[in-house]
């Protein structure tokens, strides 16, 4: 017993260390991104601007342009990362991501229809995307329900729904004006461009609530990761716990997607990276996964904005280019163990 406890304590210590390290890295990138851009602002002026000691042109650039953008990147990245980690533990499959329950497909189809058929923009598109994501996830779950939900059925029904929704997206894209279709492509790729405090003000409280709900549920997640029987054995209400966790994970991904678009790969890659950093005991460590997500999205945006002079790319273009090689390396390594 004491061995188990000691092991657990050691794992916990490592998770805490890793989380602190990641938090420092996220903060460093966020601060760095404040001083970087078309307009050169020295670090001292950035600090002055943040402290409100300067209200000139550079203060506007720092406080209204770069700071909200950096915050949205951290928040949305954390949401994607945590959502992915929950799904991967729940489905007991490293391949799982919120995509399997249709968040991306649902949000994408709703947003493209809103943008191209209804001519909406801004907050209205985000709202449509949120509704689309949640409605799709709910219908996939309901369709997969038959004396309970099995992972395999959920995945196949998710694929089928995604096929239909992708059909709607591609069809709408072929019927639209090419300039509008390009705007839709930017949305579908996922972008942090022109994110203002208005986005932060909606995103931050929504995610705060969801994080607060998710962290206590980690206990259930740890039990469910082993097997349903084991979980039941230690008194976890299996069906209720699973539904609750899925709901939280879907809501996290849906809110983040509504804010920045379906950024590829962050949800997928955060869990495996976090697990590698925290070691074998950290399978269900949601905080490191969330921080990895924040780190990946912030770093990817930095690259997307500044890698090519005078041409900024949507952040979603970069996340996979950054994430994929790492995942492949991971894959090659696990084979040897």
């Amino acid at each position: 017993m004491s061995v188990v406890r000691r092991l657990r304590r050691r794992t916990l210590a490592r998770v805490v260390t890793v989380a602190c390290g990641l938090a420092v890295a996220v903060a460093a990138i966020a601060v760095y991104s404040l001083s970087l851009g078309e307009i050169d602002i020295p670090a001292a002026d950035v600090v002055n601007a943040l402290l409100g000691l300067d209200d000139g042109g550079s203060a506007y650039i720092v406080n209204e342009l770069r700071l909200p953008r950096a915050l949205v990147a951290v928040l949305a990245g954390a949401a994607f990362g945590m959502s992915g980690a929950i799904f991967q533990s729940l489905v007991r499959n490293p391949l799982a991501s919120p995509d399997i329950i249709g968040v991306t497909a649902g949000a994408g189809a709703a947003a493209v229809v809103a943008l191209l058929l209804f001519g909406w923009s801004g907050v209205a598109v985000s709202a449509a995307a949120l509704v689309g994501a949640l409605a799709t996830a709910a219908s996939i779950y309901l369709l997969a329900w038959r004396d309970g939900v099995t992972g395999g059925r959920l995945v196949v029904i998710g694929i089928a729904m995604a096929a239909m929704l992708t059909g709607i997206v591609s069809f709408t894209m072929t019927r639209a004006d090419v300039y509008d279709a390009r705007d839709a492509l930017v949305w579908l790729t996922g972008s942090l461009n022109a994110k203002t405090w208005a986005t932060v003000r909606i995103l931050a409280p929504a995610l705060a609530v969801l994080f607060a709900l998710a962290l206590p549920a980690t206990r259930w997640l740890r039990a469910l990761r082993m097997s349903d029987e084991a979980a039941r054995g230690i008194g976890v209400p299996v069906e209720r716990a699973r539904l609750g966790l899925i709901a939280i994970a879907v809501a996290l991904a849906a809110v983040a997607t509504a804010a920045v678009g379906p950024v590829a790969f962050v949800a997928f890659v955060s869990g495996p990276i976090a697990r590698r950093l925290t070691g074998p005991g950290g399978h269900t460590a949601l905080v490191p996964a969330a921080l990895v997500g924040a780190l990946v999205l912030s770093a990817a945006d930095l690259v997307a904005q500044h890698a090519v002079a005078s041409t900024a790319f949507p952040v979603g273009v970069v996340t996979a280019i950054v994430g994929a090689p790492y995942l492949l390396w991971l894959l090659a390594r696990t084979g040897r163990e």
Binding site: E38, G57, Y60, V303, H306, A309, T311, P314
Partner: protein, 323 residues
Amino acid sequence: MRRPHRLLLAAFGATSLLVTTACGAAGQASDEDARKLPAPVSVEHRFGTTTLDTVPERIVTIDLQWTDVMLSMGVEPVGYSVDTLMPETGVPWETIPEGATALSLTDGVPVEQILALDPDLVVASFSLTDQATYDLLSARVPTIAGPPDADTVIPWQELVGTAGKILDKTEQATQVVSTVEGQVAATAAELPGLAGKTFVLAQYVVGDGLTVVADEQDGSSLFFQQLGMTLLPEVKAEGERTGDARIQLSTERIDLLRGDLLAFLINGGDESDLADIPGFGELPGTVALLDYPTIVGLNTPSPLSLPYSLTQLRPHLDTAAAA
């Protein structure tokens, strides 16, 4: 024709964190020596009303139409958006001044890049549709966005008129409008045979289908109507039935292309792809195969694009008038 090199750089440069910092001068335009307008000018647009008191000197133009309008008024924009559908050599009817900065819209409107140019006016039409982007820009620079209804194309005459008022050059604006309108009117006068003839404007997306303009208010439709022609009644009826300004057409429905003049774009292919359309070779009217800029010049007309497109079309108009 396109720009592969920058693109590959973009794709692979992204993997190595190759950060470049662009230099730009921050700071405010000095208002002291700015020229006052005789009376404040207010422009209504999608996100409200923008009022100008002084003549802007550093203008950023988003979208082709506005760039053209400013150039036609003799104003050189400090920054302009690049239309990636146009040939890499540039828009054929435009000569962009050396010092102007090309703005890429790959991640939406680049707010910081625009502010770095220290402009005193930003004008845009259909590429500025996001409220947040407008808010960020308009907090620092007077910004004019597109029309309240996103689907309408503002008549170019109106854009030139607005520019005339903003720039305090109303007489020049009137002159630009009358010169270009005069060219169209002169063509109509020279070719009385066009009166009453029908036209169809269509494109073939190779491997997919046809798209046909069915709206008489479309910029290109108006152009042909000014020449005395009318939209093919069958196309107009089909548009009214489906309620679409542009109708989708199967390649088997060539009956809707039988106008006296067919202005046609092959999108993503060449003339050999016309073999996909049964009966295309037997069409009764004059077939004018046009390139992409010519069609855009008619769809979203500007005082610079219209004369260009008119020149490109002229031989076909001659044939159609004589038929």
